[in-house]
């Protein structure tokens, strides 16, 4: 019998199917991955790094983000995540410079994938490339399910999130669009328009507006 259910999943490419969370952690341990440590930088610095990174990699906010990964020597894989991590969007595993893979959840939509890729690139830049001098050569696994990292302050997840927001919604372009759509255009949900323009989830627009203190 073909079981098609509420949890039907498809796997367009690079299909993996994990059975348990332990399997993921076990593999991470066997491969000697280390968790990211916070860079400790604040908003302005991470904003500046994201802007310069975009220039360095020739990325504009309305470009597709997948080619950026290729340009940096990385790859993207889509997987079925285990039930207990069913809403984990993805994570990055870095073997070395120009050698990393971003693992994405098949169940997430493409808008979330875009944010997740930007977030994982944040880990790659902030917690791998800039950490190399301090930590020496190491292998990074920045999955969000490492319980040991929860509650760290500063939190590397916050840092990667901020990097993603700044990369996908550059300050000047975002401010202009946000103000125009929320104050002039009559639309039942102006944030949706901004989200569509920048190719991000609506909550990310809200988070970006909040971080730039645009919400009145």
């Amino acid at each position: 019998m073909v079981l098609v259910s509420l949890l039907r999943r498809g796997a367009p490419c690079n299909h993996y199917s994990w059975s348990t969370y332990n399997q993921i952690m076990s593999e991470a341990t066997q491969k000697n991955y280390e968790a990211p440590l916070p860079c400790g930088w604040g908003k302005n610095t991470i904003e500046g790094i994201a802007e310069r990174f975009a220039v360095a990699i020739n990325f504009k906010c309305d470009d597709e983000i997948e080619p950026v990964v290729s340009r940096l020597g990385g790859s993207i894989e889509y997987e079925d995540f285990p039930l207990e991590n069913a809403m984990l969007a993805g994570w990055i595993e870095v073997e070395g410079t120009k050698d990393f893979r971003i693992r994405l959840n098949n169940d997430a939509n493409s808008i979330r994938d875009r944010f997740t890729i930007a977030h994982e690139l944040g880990h790659y830049v902030l917690h791998y490339l800039f950490a190399l001098e301090k930590r020496g050569n190491f292998k990074l696994s920045a999955n969000l399910i490492d319980g040991k990292r929860q509650g760290l302050d500063p939190d590397p997840e916050n840092e990667a999130n901020y990097f993603a927001l700044a990369l996908l919604m550059p300050k000047i372009a975002f401010t202009e669009s946000y103000n125009a759509n929320t104050s002039v255009v009559k639309h039942k949900n102006p944030l949706e328009l901004v989200a569509t323009k920048f190719g991000v989830p609506i909550w990310a627009v809200n988070a970006r507006a909040d971080s730039l203190e645009l919400i009145k």
């Binding site: 990699i57 069913a86 939509n109 830049v125 800039f130 840092e159 999130n161 909550w203």
Partner: protein, 408 residues
Amino acid sequence: MNSEPQNLQHINNYPEFLKPRLRLFLSADIAGSTAAKQKESSFYKEGEAPRKERGWMEATVYFFEEFSSQFEAAWALADNAYHSVSGTKKSKNNPPEYWKAIGDEILFYKEISQWEEIWIAIGAWSVAIKKVRHELHNKFNSLGLDIKGTAWIAGFPVINTELVLNIKSTPNSAEYKPQIDFPIFSNICNLDQYYKSLSAGRHPAGERDFIGPLIDAGFRVSSQAIPGRLVISIEAAYAILANKLKHGHVKAIQEEVKEFPDFKLYYAGRKHLKGFSGSSGYPLFIVDIGLPDDDLFSSEAKLLTKTNTCNMVNEQEALDFCEKYFHDGTSVCHPYIYDEVDSILLGGQMPQGHLMRLSELHDLWIKISANALSSPVKVSLSDNETEPENIGIDKITDLAGLPARTQI
């Protein structure tokens, strides 16, 4: 046949949207409407006098209006008559509900809590087909319209699933809810809200639809429908044959609803339905809805029988065939009603695979509802800082091993 009763008490504690449900789907489609529309469109050519007679538009509107009311009335009368004669209580027996219209086709569904509800609803559907068909012939005779009917059943949520569509996001959706980015989980949350609204007597947000392999199969079966007859899936035929359809009950209903069919079943053989049953074909059954006023039908029925293409079935033989078909089939299973205590039907038992899948879905729901599957996206960083030196573009380019940028 597994006669051991299953302990399914734990399922009673599942949220409503996860409880197994068996639904009967009913389709009625106007046959000959495309030809009628095309014929009529020629009357609007330049220089032609507009047609004065009533045309396809009036006929179609008439069909939609009349069919629903005829069916609902026939079902209510038949259901009352059945409970009166059988002495059974009407416990969870909700009336059939309108599903949707697709072109000239109207669709209803009925949640099945007791097996006899299947043949009562199919019988009432036959009544509506028979009556509205008769009226179309009388009122719109020149159009040559007829009605094709189909019935099939499908189980949820393991094999097939429900969707809640067209829920408009509100400005408040800017608030982070992890499931928003995961369509499957978003649908689960929407379904939960949908069922909670129904339970509370509120109009639920969004529109519910049904999808899955047995829904597809039903539409494929409907493509085989024949004007003036009701084609049913093998699961529906099995449910009619296996669940103590007593002809005494049928007679009692016929006293209230005289067009209610005798439930003579015909076997139409295996038909090749695109995407189903491989090369062997899908077995189709036909309910004789009884059209005494129709010489053409009667004459064709005789011909079909004589040419051995559509035979009235011996009920026990047909039941044996259905059992064997379910047993041997790789893509079908016995229909079941999870909380139906009557174990006469083998289908009264839930397959172990379904129980396991349901348990998995329930575990998933527990995690989703506890918001335990994802961390909120936080961006709480300090904004009082001194930017460190040497983090310029060239540094990033160098660290990432990118080609050096050309200075402009």
